[in-house]
Symmetry: C2
């Protein structure tokens, strides 16, 4: 079975950022080629050469990305692996020039460097303007060296690696599929997944805790991609039964994308009232293009004065129950809905930590409320993460409450 290894050459292996190799890795997984490893190495020729040789020794595919100066180091290391040297490729030069022109930038002096290619490697062009990729074989492995821009790297892999994969995959292949779940405990989700998969011989799965959600990752062993899709479709009723409403999306579908689609489909508008999340729910909702169709406004009411002035939370509620309470959340959600004139109001108030907890309301206590024309629902949570984690979980649960309300209203 073909597997792939990812190698990122980075000026700074301790920095985290968008990783084009990872984006290509996910594409390969979905196309039936699992990842066997991923490495990040500093931009030093000897180390990169060693990483490429070790990765290539396992055969299959090696997807290598050079970030910044790492792009040049990667080319040099690739040339060493091939036992050749770098030569100027006019085709690569044209592609680099085209990439800069498409972004409206002048072609920099260093463009010639970007067009240096190990002798014996093939220059790959993406369908749209973009820097070229390189293809070479080291032993039994096919090595793809790709630019650091994820969109271009994915496009190059799609155009030049997927067809090879389809051709090479005469034998069995493994399709990966991610079911995104929210609101389930990892242990419970794992048990339900294994029950659902009982009897499905060619499908295996496990549940991954992403920190904010849990995802069931399925792997289907099949002869061809269509058979994989058929096997997954056959499993769907069992999986729906196992996860119920907790299953909200597939592969790259985020919670805000799904929520946005539901709101749009029902013609609902939303206003937010955020205290402990500080604006995170609004930030997530507006990650989706076109969210202005349903997101009207948000009130980030960090102080009690703001809760009273902007949302009309009664001073007596704040005094008797505190800002972190079901009555406050209720009043915030209703206030947001009424003052914004939207169909729905969603409110979050809680104690993100590390300070501010009490014995009855420890750090991590969060109330989430949703108001619509039918009334208000309030949910109480107790998260056990640090400040960032508690904020992130609160936002996930707020988005999910919105999603569940939309589903009920359908």
């Amino acid at each position: 079975m073909l597997t792939a290894e990812l190698v990122t050459v980075s000026a700074d292996p301790a920095a985290t950022g968008a990783d084009a190799a990872l984006a290509v890795g996910r594409l390969l997984e979905r196309a039936g080629c699992p990842l066997r490893a991923r490495r990040v190495v500093p931009a030093e020729e000897v180390g990169v050469e060693r990483a490429l040789r070790q990765a290539a020794a396992e055969g299959g595919y090696v997807v290598a990305v050079g970030e910044g100066d790492g792009a040049g180091t990667l080319r040099q290391a690739l040339a060493r692996c091939l036992g050749t040297r770098l030569v100027l490729s006019n085709r690569a030069l044209d592609l680099v020039a085209g990439a800069y022109a498409a972004r409206g930038h002048a072609v920099p002096g260093r463009a010639e460097q970007l067009a240096l290619v190990p002798q014996g490697a093939t220059v790959l062009a993406a369908p749209e303007p973009g820097e070229p990729g390189l293809l070479a074989e080291i032993g039994d492995a096919v090595v793809l060296a790709l630019p650091a821009l994820s969109a271009t790297a994915v496009s190059l892999a799609r155009a030049h690696l997927l067809p090879r994969l389809a051709e090479a995959s005469r034998g069995p292949l493994v399709l990966a599929r991610t079911l995104r779940l929210v609101g389930l405990d990892v242990g419970a989700a794992e048990a339900q997944l294994q029950t659902a998969l009982r009897g499905a011989e060619d499908v295996s799965g496990h549940v991954v805790d992403t920190g904010e959600e849990c995802w069931a990752r399925l792997r289907v062993r099949v002869d061809s991609p269509p058979r994989g899709e058929a096997a997954l479709a056959a499993l769907e009723p069992a999986l729906r039964g196992a996860f119920g409403i907790a299953w909200y999306g597939i592969d790259d579908e985020t919670l805000e994308v799904v929520v946005g689609r539901l709101l749009r489909g029902r013609g609902f508008t939303v206003a937010l009232a955020e205290s402990c999340t500080g604006g995170l729910v609004g930030h997530r909702l507006t990650q989706v293009a076109g969210s202005s169709a349903y997101f009207e406004r948000g009130f980030v009411v960090y102080s009690n004065e703001a809760k009273q002035a902007l949302l009309g939370v009664p001073e007596s509620v704040l005094r008797e129950h505190g800002a972190v309470s079901a009555p406050s959340a209720d009043a915030m959600a209703r206030g947001a809905r009424e003052r914004a004139g939207t169909d729905i109001g969603v409110a979050v108030t809680g104690i993100a930590g590390p300070d501010g907890g009490t014995s009855t309301k420890p750090v991590g206590t969060v109330f989430i409320a949703l108001a619509d024309r039918q009334g208000t629902v309030v949910e109480r949570y107790r998260f056990d993460r640090d400040r960032e984690g508690n904020k992130a979980l609160s936002a996930v649960r707020a988005l999910d409450l919105l999603r569940r309300r939309c589903l009920e209203a359908s």
Copy 2:
């Protein structure tokens, strides 16, 4: 020179999340031990054993973290590398039980599994309650197997690896330091860095583009950590001269931490008016514990109606100049400040994309305004990223405007 390699054993190498190995890697870098590579491998015994052997073959330190089921796989692979088997450790069992007790959870049945330790490995305890780590030697390499919780992993490495590192570092060592810069072009920052480092023989550096900021990463070759600090202190005037006000923090200091410290020091309060960022500026400000001391409220005014109703942006301004304009940003910042009664109002309005651009205001056009008792300043930007990137850059520039205003007011 001693270097370290990181190995993360993950149920899902294509998933990204908090990586405890990376957190330990940054600690080691700052203590004089550079990273030579980082890898993520699936939780399969053979692959993990191969990764450990390859990593150990380079000597120095190997920091391995097992996430979820990966913790068990890592132990088994480590036992195979050592040529021994797993045995139950009562000391490890006590530590696991203590970790659960400290979080207020019952000890799960699988706790015994967590206490299985390769014969010949040393069980490491953190100063505070937490799961144990393991220490073993494979060839010339010291291997640390750590739990997936970053705080515990870092604490174990600090207690058990840093003293070893200090002892082993009789020869030269390399201290890493990150200078966080905002508002500089990577090319310009790189040129300024190299000018500042001219003549400093034992210090090298390069600039990393994080996507939102750029960071100058320095490496100082010295005999001992105090000498490294002295060398960095000697360089500071040149670096201040090179980067000026763009240099806002060191190592893990985020922009919101620095902004919070400045606001608190001056006793300033802030209100936000966010349009295209959708709440992201408020989210970032409130990532800092105690931010309620200076952050009063935020208005997420996604619709024009909200801009008028909540901030008093005149209808004529919206009609004549549009919501994305300097006059709108100006009115939003003033409105937020006046209505919240804070010292400062900060506003962001722009076109995050992918749609909504025009020839005079293309996608990525963003206006950021700050109002205080001296008046209002408005800055215009043109970012060239996708929606998420444009939102992220807008938030960075808004926080940075707040920082610069605080510095001027000192």
